[in-house]
Symmetry: C2
């Protein structure tokens, strides 16, 4: 009995770790899996069997045109949920940007849970909504913002999301950033160089992936408010 109680508590904790609160205790199986850099986690149009949370690393989701042009929809950092589709099939391909460990939860489990537990259902809707909000904001960026505004918005967003102190370490390549912002790698590189020359950002260590935001206000000013 004691064992069963402990096990239920552990599962409840795992569920809570997944960012999903429940009004009652439920048995939910949570597994972990690690993907090497660049490998596919799930493909577009595959059945959406699991919902994922990034435990360690970073994930990108993208769509492709037949000739190889790529649009990255979002980057998912530690703690973020992804693969939550509310549909039978995934609508993006998900890949590990770097070596990445994810937690998995069966979609059917969560949906079944949502049927009986309004709190879980509400949580799922909230997550879908924040997905939607991000994508909607990205529409405006892709449709109407200049290259510099896009890069500034990206750095600002990453800075807010990933930094505790002033340094952020971008796990993704210039190509990934370019495909996220609807630009080329050269344009992204030039914009970042410009920001550096203007004293808005600086680089830390030997790699180009650690960026310090020196002038946060100037960065946000470059990204036109909406």
């Amino acid at each position: 009995m004691l064992v069963r109680t402990t096990e239920a508590a552990r599962r409840a904790n795992l569920l809570r770790d997944f960012g999903i609160t429940s009004s009652t205790d439920h048995a939910v199986s949570l597994n972990e899996f690690t993907y090497k850099k660049g490998t596919e986690i799930f493909g577009e149009k595959e059945p959406a069997k699991y919902i994922y949370q990034v435990k360690l690393g970073a994930v990108r989701t993208h769509k492709l045109l037949s000739d190889g042009r790529r649009q990255i929809g979002a980057f998912h950092l530690i703690g973020d949920i992804f693969g939550l589709e509310n549909a039978a099939l995934h609508r993006f391909t998900a890949e590990a940007v770097v070596e990445t460990t994810v937690r998995l939860i069966l979609r059917t489990t969560l949906e079944h849970l949502a049927e009986s537990d309004a709190v879980v259902a509400r949580n799922l809707r909230t997550m879908t909504t924040s997905n939607l909000q991000h994508v909607e904001d990205h529409l405006l960026l892709l449709g109407r913002k200049t290259a510099m505004e896009r890069v500034a918005a990206f750095l600002h967003d990453m800075s807010v999301r990933s930094t505790a102190a002033g340094v952020m370490s971008l796990p993704m390549s210039r190509r990934d950033i370019a495909d996220y912002l609807g630009l080329t790698i050269e344009t992204v590189s030039r914009a970042i160089s410009q920001l550096h020359a203007d004293g808005v950002i600086s680089f830390r260590s030997n790699t180009q992936r650690d960026i310090v935001v020196l002038d946060h206000d100037r960065l946000t000013a470059l990204d036109k408010p909406n």
Copy 2:
């Protein structure tokens, strides 16, 4: 008693008209309202009090940058639901493209209904999902497609959605189309002229807003498949 039953039946029918099926009968108040061409139905960041369905006319939803640049997120035609945010505030401004009549339903009513009725909840989720899908596909268009591909995709989509026969009547202006596709009115106009010159489409009547798709295959070929 008979009166009450009839009233319940009427309400159930209205709910069904709204595209929301319910497992049981519920009292749902449905109102209609008509907006003049160009008027605002709701504004960005306003409380999302109602959910809407287009009964007659057409609606556009948009976001603005501070300097007036506009991104239209979607056009809603007859039968379409809009304003379904799953959040406290609207994230787009909605305006009537032409004189438009909408059906309204209180968001709280629907949400309350969804709490107890899993079928309603599922329907709401399905609608949110199709919103999400449309926006995600639009990301790819705005980030990676050429002007001609965008216009072709737009005409194809409108043709599929609004046409019974071969003629579609576009209710929105070139400016609206441009702001939807992330282009300028001149570029949209040139692309449409090009399609006309190439014999892919033709114009009906005296106005420029009735378009006949002559070569559906060639139109879809111009929009790269994804």
